[in-house]
């Protein structure tokens, strides 16, 4: 059973075709990589999957049900969380608050119950707080819980963004170039981190990555894009030998 499937997915910005005929099949539990040169349309795919863009063509299926055109907040609540290529934290909130915001999307207490501190609200908050603290503990950010998110070191900001996405309780996690801007040691730590959360949270992860070594080592499945077109798909060993991949992506 495919967790995520796209059928003939495409998007054009005005006249510019950023993505065409994408047939993505992401099995449940997979670590799936999306690679391709700059401007290939990778981030556009994430924006379509997460609802920030409405496709001009095709469909998206999650758990076999159509989610095409749903707004981002609904898609998140269905179980698809994402990070952004340029980190988007709540920069002036604390690390803990960032994770708490991730928890509260499914909250039931209304604004007046929150303002008047009704038991239903207090119960929810206690649960969010416990969950957030546990998450921060697991990812190694507990010590920074009260720091302002925007002032964290870069590597920690990346990690916090992923943690915050985990707080929404996703089944599918979309990571847009999580290793961008990290040094080799941090990249290695990130790989281990991704493997850990993949296992611990029974996640399916779709990751966009520039770093070929990273993605080859991490993923069981790859899709390679160039100029909005899928030029290869399959296991890493197969894909890396593909002549069009060698030509378009590796530039050899």
């Amino acid at each position: 059973m495919m967790l995520l499937e796209t059928r003939n997915l495409g998007h054009s910005f005005g006249g510019l075709l950023a993505l065409e005929n994408l047939h993505l099949q992401v099995p449940e539990g997979a670590l799936y990589g999306l690679i391709g040169p700059n401007g290939a349309g990778k981030t556009t795919i994430f924006n379509l999957l997460s609802g920030f863009l409405k496709p001009t063509q095709g469909d998206i299926l999650f758990h076999g049900a159509k989610i095409t055109g749903l707004p981002p907040e609904q898609i998140t609540l269905l179980g698809i969380a994402r990070t952004f290529q340029n980190i988007r934290l709540f920069g002036e909130l604390t690390v803990l608050d960032n994770v708490l915001v991730g928890c509260q999307g499914r909250g039931r207490a209304s604004w007046w119950q929150a303002a008047l501190r009704f038991p239903v609200y207090l119960r929810e908050e206690r649960e969010y707080l416990a969950r957030s603290r546990a998450l921060l503990e697991e990812v190694g950010l507990a010590g920074a819980a009260d720091d302002i998110a925007g002032q964290l070191p870069y590597g920690h900001q990346r990690r916090l963004e992923i943690t915050r996405a985990l707080a929404t309780r996703p089944k599918l996690l979309l990571l847009d170039e999580p290793a961008a801007g990290l040094n080799p040691q941090e990249t290695q730590d990130l790989m281990d981190f991704l493997r850990t959360i993949h296992r611990e949270y029974h996640l399916t992860i779709l990751v966009i990555e520039h770093n070929l070594r990273l993605v080859m080592g991490l993923c069981q499945h790859l899709t390679v894009l160039d100029h909005g077109l899928t030029i290869a798909a399959g296991p890493p060993a197969e894909v890396r030998r593909h002549p069009r991949v060698i030509r378009a992506y590796l530039g050899k």
């Binding site: 981002p72 907040e73 998140t76 909130l93 608050d97 915001v101 509260q104 604004w111």
Partner: protein
Amino acid sequence: MTTKHWLNLGVVGLLALFVWGAGRWLDEYQVRLLNNVAVFITLAVSYNLINGVCGQLHLGPNAFITLGAYTAALLTMTPAEKAANFLITPLYWPLSQISLPFPLALLAGGLVAAGAGFLTGFPVFRVRGDYLAIVTLGFGEVVRVLANNLQGLTNGPLGLKGLYPCTNLWWSWGVAVATVALITALVNSGYGRALKAIRDDETAARAMGLNTFRHLLLAYILSAFFFGVGGGLLAHLITTISPSLFTFFLTFNLLIIIVVGGLGSTTGAVLAAAFFTLAGEWLRVVEEPLEVLGLHIPGIPGMRMVLFSLLLLLVIIYFRGGLLGRREFTWAGLTRFCSRMGRHDAS
């Protein structure tokens, strides 16, 4: 109840004592000033909710204040007073016959403003940033023009005269305390956390599963409600209202207050509202002819506004975050401050 709650209650008690004393011993002018301070605290704190906490440049508070003022005024006036006011075009029935007690009229003013907030919220939050500012600014103008032209409802440019001065210190400060308490409680709750998250990065907030439209709409409606109530209080304080009282100028005053106080800080909004109301009175001197060292300076009307605008400029240049930034007064903060002072004394 925790210590914090007892302390808050204590402050409210002290304030009640103060209001009681003020009513007894202060003269009419001073009481009027204190009423003004309270109403501006209500307005500024509500404005700060949408503008500072949510980070949406809403430029239409004057629209909601107008709606609240007219609604409340039309409801407290007696049928005879209404007949005396509406000479050119009679007031529509059944408004011409209704007369309600002041508290109900205030509530109605708030509800009408909140209703307008609900209706305008949909177009307003289709856009963001500069566009949102322009849309809300336009709404303020629309309401003013309507107030000028719907003679049968507002009595046009002549306005409403001879309202009963129902606004006393108990009402003005009671509403101010309730507004500050409710808004502070909301801002410090999970709901407020969501609003601040939206201010920091709305895209990320949506990616977290927050319905940002609904959150913003709620804050906007809530602020509209308190603008409406504040407008009702203002009307029954001044006792004469006309559309020219509620121009963008009023919004601009509120904007100065919350920017100087520190966008996003309720404490800042309260302090700045009090400061500006009082300073505005004291600075009346500069608009009157002066003799300084034998030099005669003629009065310049509008000079106060020039000074306030200068102050605004200085604050924006030298204290970008306003006087308080986003800091708030808290009891825990006070305790920390005192213990730090204590340690200084000891060393």
